[in-house]
Symmetry: C2
Subunit: 340 residues, 2 copies
């Protein structure tokens, strides 16, 4: 026998007042007398009344919920962004509904569907690597759901976005490696349609060019996880002209490279330099500790949420889209040489 939750009507009957008075008391409406309010509050406490948010959301057409579409929370970067998102949401009295795409396009589409059905007030999204179509996101826009893309944005969709300065981050890191004597720097990136990858690659290429170094396609590979790095790194080191440095688009990949390089007997950073991206906790756990590009992930999440809340509370029809950039910062540790 499932016990029925107590309702406003129950309170009204018990107290011999009307449901509307109860509702107003709970909402602390100024018209209601203090005595009445106190009686109501007292009753809710004693009897453990829990407002049914389903009902109030339906009635007010406001679910006070934000949908978050995120690739994978196992990754330090995303779980850290999520913390920023949650903290801001909580301050503003919003709940968040997290959907993991697991980098799978189909799951992303389903997530959008679920968020639409849940009548979320807004959506924060970072797109899956495999997503090459964007109609599902357009669907959100078409239904007037405010949305903000973060980190992995979707250029085809006209809406606010917040990213990290991937180009500068990657440019600075590579520039630093060149300045410390590296001449053949390999690039391990992601294969996807996302601007984030182009930007990081361009930062890499431009840093080389500005330093008068050649851009060698042989050194540029698709590899963005630990396991693949274990397989690919030995191939590069076996080249006639092997790299003397590696730049990877995330820390897991960088650590994979590091483990291979060490196991093959190279000295890090004397013979081979390595730099990652994200500056996750991981970078302090490996040995030598990893030089990495900090993305200020918490700040990214918090700012994304603030942007979204702005859109929700002050819906402006002049659709000039905000485009924020979070600065990165190169954190030099011991997988790269010091500046002489």
């Amino acid at each position: 026998m499932k016990k029925r939750q107590i309702t406003i009507k129950d309170i009204a009957n018990a107290l011999n007042i009307s449901p509307s008075t109860v509702s107003r008391s709970l909402a602390d409406h100024p018209d209601i007398s203090l005595i009445t309010k106190e009686r109501v509050i007292e009753f809710t406490k004693v009897h453990g009344y829990k407002p049914n948010v389903l009902a109030s959301s339906l009635r007010t057409s406001n679910s006070k919920t934000i949908g978050v579409i995120i690739p994978q929370i196992v990754h330090y970067f995303f779980s850290s962004v999520l913390t920023g998102i949650e903290d801001e949401a909580e301050k503003a009295g919003y709940k968040i509904f997290i959907c993991q795409s697991n980098e799978i396009y189909e799951k992303e589409v389903k997530a959008v569907q679920a968020l639409l059905e849940t009548r979320v007030c807004g959506v924060l999204a970072s797109v899956a690597k495999t997503s090459a179509r964007y109609e599902h996101f357009q669907d959100l826009i078409d239904n007037d759901i405010p949305m903000v893309f973060f980190d992995r944005i979707c250029t085809g969709i006209l809406t606010d976005r917040i990213v990290v300065d991937d180009y500068a981050g990657s440019h600075n890191a590579v520039d630093y490696m060149v300045k410390t004597g590296c001449r053949r720097i390999a690039f391990f990136g992601t294969l996807s349609h996302l601007p984030i990858n182009n930007n990081r690659r361009m930062g890499y290429e431009d840093a080389l060019r500005r330093n008068g170094l050649p851009v060698d396609p042989v050194l540029m590979r698709v590899c963005d996880n630990y396991t693949d790095a274990l397989a690919l790194t030995p191939q590069l080191l076996a080249l006639p002209e092997p790299p003397d440095a590696f730049f990877a688009v995330n820390d897991e990949t960088a650590v994979g490279i590091l483990n291979v390089v060490k196991s093959l007997g190279y000295k890090v950073p004397d013979q081979v330099s390595i730099c990652g991206f994200t500056n996750s906790v991981l970078s302090e756990y490996c040995d030598p500790m990893l030089t990495s590009v900090d993305q200020h992930s918490y700040e990214l999440g918090a700012t994304a949420m603030q942007l979204l809340l702005d859109k929700i509370t002050t819906p402006s029809d002049n659709h000039q889209l905000a485009s924020r950039v979070i600065k990165t910062q190169l954190v030099v540790r011991n997988t790269t040489r010091p500046l002489s």
Copy 2:
């Protein structure tokens, strides 16, 4: 101008049928003629109808949502459990509503409140380290919300639970270290009321005793994160009789110990052995790779969700609580010596 979503009534009017017929068509009710169903489906596709789950949940008193209360998703163990939970939930057609307690009692209480208000069909919870009171969980029970505790259970509350065999896991690990020659093994654990900690400590103590080794309180410390391990480890190594091995309740702590031990010039595992708990990806990232106790976290999450779904679908009034145990497995890597 916020665009109103299209409703069942709209479809009914457009198609000159009644709302109930539309509803039944969408639910694929056997009574409805194929032609009608097709007309309805066609219309929903063309006009992008999204059912309002708020309304249907309210009407049916079934939100098809499971609440999950979890300490911190940044940790590999929990995010990995979460994946198991999500996969099972999805199979069964349930959404999940994730609440992070961040190990803070007050946030845990708020989470329970939110879940109650959202009218979730059930709750999966792993309790915060700082929670010493449990009325909030009792509140769920009192409202007949099926619930299952996982990993960090709450002994005061009578409900289903699923844990890892912490005692055996820790016993085996310590026993292994003794068998490989360690004589003074330090224990780094958590300070909390949770059984999980007692069990791990007892496993440690019993393994020592069965091998005829003394249990020295000096070697047993409260320390369960990377930063604290950096501070505490040197103190232990400076003892007149320093430990020759460390057993930590999680991998982050173990890596912290490892980094200190190495930096002080000790050889691992020759002079000092180290073992962690969880077997997170982390254990392959450090050097030497970390020996750790695998907790089968994905399986833990999946099983927890299955247990909960069982309770939800077949609510038995005979409250005999299920208590499942997931086996652990010692994964030997290079921070411990081989068995001779």
